[in-house]
Symmetry: C3
């Protein structure tokens, strides 16, 4: 599997592979299966049978990049399924490394656990690790490349709110260039017909032309705009903060932050039906938006647990013949 | 709720609020209920029914300040109740923050977990977080302000050893100024009639005059003294180490440390019935005190688990109609 | 118990002591009992009865030195036994310390948990801690001194593969001087008759003469060699990387690393029956060795879980009258 998968080099499907490294592995049909299982997880979150589903499993969380939301959300998902959790969180220079290859690392951890969730700062590391790993592996983010579980949460929230995943106009901003969440979501939307994406942000944060061409090659209609107004004429606004930790220089960042944001005023006069944000939120959404019916970002974060329960359970359970809870 | 609650600005009771941010929320009657439940937890610590009490719950430990005892004690309490535990430990500058407000943080984590225990370096942060949090929140220490679960452990240990919480003479030292444990314990003692507190330590570590006045306003008799002997003429000695990490300058710290300490010699010739220490212990208690009948500090640390089990269970359980274990 | 136990100063047996600080506590007979229990654990890893064995227990992992494999392996073992896990990982200068003695630390943590696994950078700290600890303690590595659970994993893997633990020729390299794993394994092999050890590595990494004499005093035949070929004329090769974090100066480390390694070529032409490595692997084994029948290091890492389950269960379970799973 190539590091930068393109439309032409599709990785194996989720079912074939037994691991999840890219949203490209999830077509409309396997997406629907994941969402149906997530519905079931959400409905039975507190049922005793749910916490028996993975009671004989150990889930390893292997995070080589700082994380908090993703690791907490996966930990909660594993706990709700009754699994034991073992976790390692450290910068890549840490003890686990000591010069060891990523392949050896997952071989070792895969001999303790029944499924591994891995975050790594290196693009393509998830695919390499998944191939070597003796147990199923889920990509929790590999550098600027992919964040497939976030994309599934985003798609699930859109489906739940708007009832469909096709024929949508989705505005995304304000830092499309540095967001693996936006990259993965665009690829996911490309799997459904008739979707149009408008990327909005300061020109230096626009998506690289190669990436835009790749998305168009997948059948997605893509435009870019500097105008925050462009975001308001969509069905869905998917906004994120400027990823300052990845932006070499954004000299007028504070001024731009004041410009590129949604407020109750401009949301009320817009045609928006839904506002999402992968969080954390800083400048990009005013607090007075939280009370509007379009605000979907706290529902989105809540959806992280059933989606990750569905994925852990589909990939990590030992006996898939008794999946009925 | 004001950051520095005073006698005049009482926060809502534990039962009303559904969260615990201040010892001021616990009057004598709700204190007695907590202690009765802790008795039950201690008695049934290893009973299978006990680890069913929160088997359907996830407890989030959100520690933005270094901690070890408190987080280990809450982890153990949650495990004994059968709950899943998800935890985040980091300085405030960490990834979870990334400029996010404390309100957003607890909204996010409160969508993964059923109850949150939070420690934060900012005074008043617990009250702000509890108001925004979609699930019950327990204050595990907010800066120099409050540490209500520690105060409950201290009161519980006094009750168990001496059979009462009123009419007590309690000496506290040797760093009353920087101890949120002492502040919270004084407020707790003020809820019971006839208690007299003598604060003992080097003059630069005396409690601020405003704080002393506030305690007097609550009905507590308070004196301060530089003389370590003053501690020996009490019923209870509650001692702590100099909190050097919070003391800007204590030039003669080592010499003062040798002066301000309890030894088997002076304890034996005292009228003390009980010695407590929130630990860690450094200079303030000689090891030869450990074998004396007055030494209560290891019992005190052990009491942390049942008290925290009682609090997690009172505030965090989903179904309070089936509390009988 | 002295810090550097010698043949002359044997510590109490595992059964007598109720803790495990040194491989010297494990004679051939108690080793066999541990291995039999580990066999049972491996066989019943996914049985519901297995995760009831310690369902009423809390296991504390107290790691004052960086660790990843050992803590993940113990976490998995505890989870498989159904135990709750509380863990503290930090350099010794951390908050848990704050000047506290190791004895106080284990008294505190031992009042939360039913068994403690401790790693500490100070030689002999495990023995001191075990004496003060109110609950059983397992040494997860104390400085350069001992790593008894690793030695048991190594012996178990040799037993499983070769069917015996006596009359073996074992080559060990390439950093015998700095390896507590090699030290503990040698002591373990000395408990069985007829074993011969050949230590191989650059002269500056040879084992100190005192340590060699001690091993000979225990009945082990010990030779040292600079010649990597010496490793190939053995039954078992136990190799480790240069422990660069403990080596003050190894100026030609990279060149030596290329010299001191096993490749498929030299393994195929050797008399070796088994190759072990405590991992992580860097220079010492080429990847093309992984597919050879002699490669036992990933089986070795997998054996960590049942061995640690056996130890936790033997030492930490509350009721040993119902051990049958």
């Amino acid at each position: 599997m190539s590091t930068h998968a393109t439309a032409a080099t599709r990785p194996p499907s989720l079912e074939q592979a037994g691991y999840l490294v890219s949203i490209d592995q999830v077509d409309a049909s396997s997406g629907a299966a994941i969402f149906a299982l997530a519905d079931e997880m959400a409905r039975n979150l507190y049922e005793p049978a749910t916490r028996q589903l993975m009671a004989d499993c150990v889930v390893a969380l292997l995070f080589f990049e700082p994380s908090s939301r993703t690791i907490l959300s996966f930990s909660a998902a594993a706990a709700r399924l009754g699994a034991g959790v073992i976790s390692h969180q450290a910068a890549e220079t840490s003890s686990l490394a000591k010069g060891e290859s990523i392949e050896d690392t997952v071989r070792v951890v895969g001999s303790y656990a029944d499924v591994i969730v891995m975050r790594h700062n290196e693009e393509g590391s998830a695919a390499r690790a998944a191939e070597a790993c003796p147990v199923p592996l889920i990509n929790g983010g590999d550098g600027g490349n992919e964040h497939p579980t976030q994309a599934l949460i985003d798609l699930y929230t859109i489906r739940n709110r708007l009832g469909r995943l096709d024929g949508l106009r989705v505005g995304m901003g304000f830092d499309p260039r540095h967001s693996r969440a936006i990259r993965s979501l665009c690829r996911g939307l490309a799997r459904h017909p008739g979707n149009e994406v408008t990327l909005v942000g300061p020109r230096q944060l626009w998506m690289a032309e190669d990436d835009v061409q790749d998305l168009r090659g997948r059948g997605l209609t893509v435009a870019q705009s500097e105008d925050v107004e462009a975001l308001l004429h969509q069905d869905v606004a998917y906004v994120n903060r400027f990823q300052r930790e990845r932006i070499a220089a954004l000299p007028d960042g504070d001024a731009l932050g004041r410009l590129y944001r949604l407020s109750a005023g401009n949301v009320r006069s817009s045609g928006l039906q839904l506002i999402l944000d992968p969080l954390p939120r800083t400048h990009e959404i005013d607090q007075d938006v939280d009370g509007l019916p379009q605000a979907g970002y706290f529902e989105q974060v809540r959806n992280g647990v059933p989606i990750r329960m569905a994925l852990l359970s589909m990939l990590g359970r030992r006996d898939t013949t008794t999946t009925d809870s």
